[in-house]
């Protein structure tokens, strides 16, 4: 989608529901994506590099921890604002949105929720200003959908803890100054802050990804890694704690992937209106219109679902299962729309002149991470039947 013409997708006049602030912030992030992300992202994606130079700019705009209270360096914004930021960032690239999601939902949120006052005072303003970058270590090589089976363990020793184990698929791992690591202490899951450079801790970058290429994905390795006593997140306890973080991250994904779908739809709409075959625009063929109608309908439904989810979150009545529904739906429709868009662009769909193939590759990860499509399905299944399928 040529950046100048992008006006978003608003078939049901949702702009009438957004406040002046919400629209102004969304449009500012849209400008940022148009001017700073879109012109460079294909190259970074091809080169398998994260455009880290964008991070200070994003921090200045207040994109990290916008929903964290101002006293800790956040903006005290509502969750619709947070959602709209994610929507716009992921319209640029899932890797950029992932960076912001991790910093906010998986690092600032657990420190804010489970941290001591000292930890909050020290870390949150530094994370908001991106003076420090964070990552979140839950998934392990053998424990993905079933994180409760984790092997990584912490052992109490004189003055602190010894951590042993390994984490995998960790966004920002290699570039992070601090890792929020989940490990079993006496059989119970606890959160720990592991700082870069700690002896026995390494974070090698994973190579060979064909998705989320403009994002850093790493392993975290702990070999008798000693961390001081004050680095435990004192108010964390049990698997529920990291799952609460995932609920936050899924909330951002639910909004973000709608942005991805909006970009694919806008691109293909413009393309099919100008591409002439058999003497008329491709958009004039019924077979194209059927697809465009599907896309705009699914985007509109997903936007409404996210908007209501934001209201529930701000009102304090959102349940994790509500988030699962939105994450599951947005990723599903975004993947379908990206895939259809690729076909509708014909051979052009595979070129990096268009954003489609990159988004199509990215959504493959996003549909799986922070809780797979299947797990979201089973969470909803359990919620409506009362019968857990995965226990």
């Amino acid at each position: 989608m040529s950046k100048e013409n992008y006006k978003g997708v608003d078939y049901y006049l949702l702009d009438e529901l957004f406040t002046e602030d919400e629209k102004a912030i969304r449009d500012t992030v849209r400008d940022f994506v148009n001017n700073e992300v879109l012109p460079i992202i294909e190259k970074y994606n091809q080169d398998m590099k994260f455009p880290i130079q964008l991070v200070p700019l994003m921090a200045e705009m207040g994109l990290f921890g916008p929903n964290i209270p101002e006293q800790y360096g956040g903006m005290g914004a509502n969750n619709i604002v947070y959602g709209l930021i994610m929507q716009e960032l992921e319209r640029g690239d899932s890797g950029i949105r992932s960076f912001a999601s991790v910093q906010t939902s998986l690092v600032m949120y657990p420190i804010f929720t489970f941290g001591s006052e000292e930890q909050k005072q020290y870390w949150l303003p530094k994370l908001a200003s991106a003076e420090k970058i964070g990552c979140f270590g839950l998934t392990e090589p053998d424990f993905g959908s079933n994180p409760g089976g984790m092997i990584t363990k912490a052992e109490e020793v004189d003055g602190g803890y010894l951590i042993n184990g390994a984490k995998m698929w960790i966004t920002n791992g290699t570039i992070a100054d601090v890792a929020v690591v989940w490990a079993k202490l006496n059989g119970k899951v606890k959160g720990f802050l592991v700082e870069k450079g700690t002896q026995g801790f390494s974070a090698p970058e994973m190579k060979g990804k064909l998705s989320l290429r403009a994002s850093v994905t790493s392993e975290l390795v702990f070999e008798d890694c000693f961390i001081p006593k004050e680095n435990i997140l004192p108010n964390s306890g049990g698997l529920k704690s990291p799952l609460m973080c995932l609920t936050q991250a899924r909330y951002g994904i639910a909004w973000g992937t709608v942005g991805l779908a909006m970009e694919c739809y806008s691109t293909v709409l413009e393309y099919t209106k100008s591409r002439i075959q058999f003497g008329k625009p491709v958009a004039q063929f019924q077979i194209t219109q059927e697809k465009l109608a599907y896309m705009v309908t699914e985007i509109t439904k997903a936007q409404l679902l996210c908007y209501r989810l934001g209201q529930l979150k701000d009102g304090g009545t959102m349940r994790p299962q509500h988030v699962s529904m939105a994450k599951r739906n947005s990723c599903e429709i975004a993947k379908n729309i990206a895939s259809m868009a690729r076909e509708m662009l014909g051979a052009n769909g595979i070129l990096d002149e268009y954003p489609i193939m990159r988004h199509l590759n990215n959504i493959e990860s996003v549909k799986t991470y922070e809780g797979t499509h299947e797990m979201q399905t089973l969470i909803l299944g359990e919620d409506v039947t009362g019968l857990p399928a995965f226990q």
């Binding site: 100048e4 002046e20 102004a24 912030i25 700019l57 705009m61 207040g62």
Partner: protein, 249 residues
């Protein structure tokens, strides 16, 4: 130091302009209005000076209530105070705008006045120069670099094939050109704060236009192209058409 930035609200640069029913102005239905892009450089320069030396900053706009949006955007970028001079009608020309701005600036007495080098709606490039004349102040336009000292400014401006460096006493008027700085993306906090920041409203001091729009027309639609399909054999016909029909050779 007191700095004023004169800002205007213009149709988004991607707008497909339609002529309104009066035939004398554009149809504003469905048009998104934004802060004039060149004004963003002017605002950024003022905000940077404020951050460096604690200057007092004002954004001033002439127009309808809608022009408050231009002032709000200036607030979001860091300007502290705003003044809207309310136009008596929608029918005003460059001189009316300039005269009203000059009257307000005369009252405010800033040390430095910024404009965008032009507004992208009418592209007249007229108002900053008129204001300078009305206030009898030095004026440097198309400025790409600026140094402000206590009592003078050194401005670098673009000229055909080179640069011109002008030193001027203060107060002075500067027209900002792309390249002067990188306008910031407003911070979320200042976006949220801008909404509740008051804007001072002033009545218009002048409304007698010096010019009148008689009619407004879109450029004629492009004619259909002609394709000569006989390859090299068409060369003679092509030359004939270029000479006799298109009259370009």
């Amino acid at each position: 130091m007191k700095i004023a930035v004169c800002v205007s609200l213009v149709p988004d640069s991607t707008t497909k302009v339609k002529i309104g029913s009066s035939g004398k102005s554009i149809d504003e239905n469905g048009v998104t209005f934004i802060l004039n892009p060149y004004d963003e450089y002017a605002v950024e320069e003022a905000v940077q000076l404020k951050e460096k030396s604690g200057a007092e900053t004002y954004a001033i706009s002439f127009g309808s209530d809608r022009s408050k949006e231009a002032i709000k955007k200036a607030y979001q970028m860091g300007i502290e105070k705003g003044i809207l001079i309310k136009a008596n009608s929608d029918d005003y020309d460059s001189y009316t705008v300039a005269k009203n701005l000059a009257d307000a600036l005369n009252e405010l007495k800033p040390d430095l006045i910024f404009f965008g080098k032009q507004s992208i709606d009418f592209d007249g490039m007229a108002i900053p120069g008129m204001v300078a004349t009305l206030l009898n102040l030095p004026f440097v336009n198309v400025v790409t670099k600026l140094d402000v000292n206590r009592n003078e400014v050194t401005a670098e401006r673009e000229i055909e094939g080179g640069k011109e460096i002008i030193v001027s006493a203060l107060p002075a008027i500067i027209g900002a050109q792309k390249g002067l700085n990188n306008p910031r993306y407003p911070n979320l906090k200042s976006i949220m704060a801008s909404k509740s920041k008051p804007i001072e409203e002033k009545n218009s001091t002048y409304s007698g236009n010096k010019t009148e729009v008689i009619s407004m027309n879109l450029p004629p639609a492009k004619g259909k192209g002609k394709i000569l399909e006989n390859g090299a054999e068409s060369a003679a016909e092509l030359v004939k058409l270029l000479r006799d029909e298109a009259k370009i050779i």
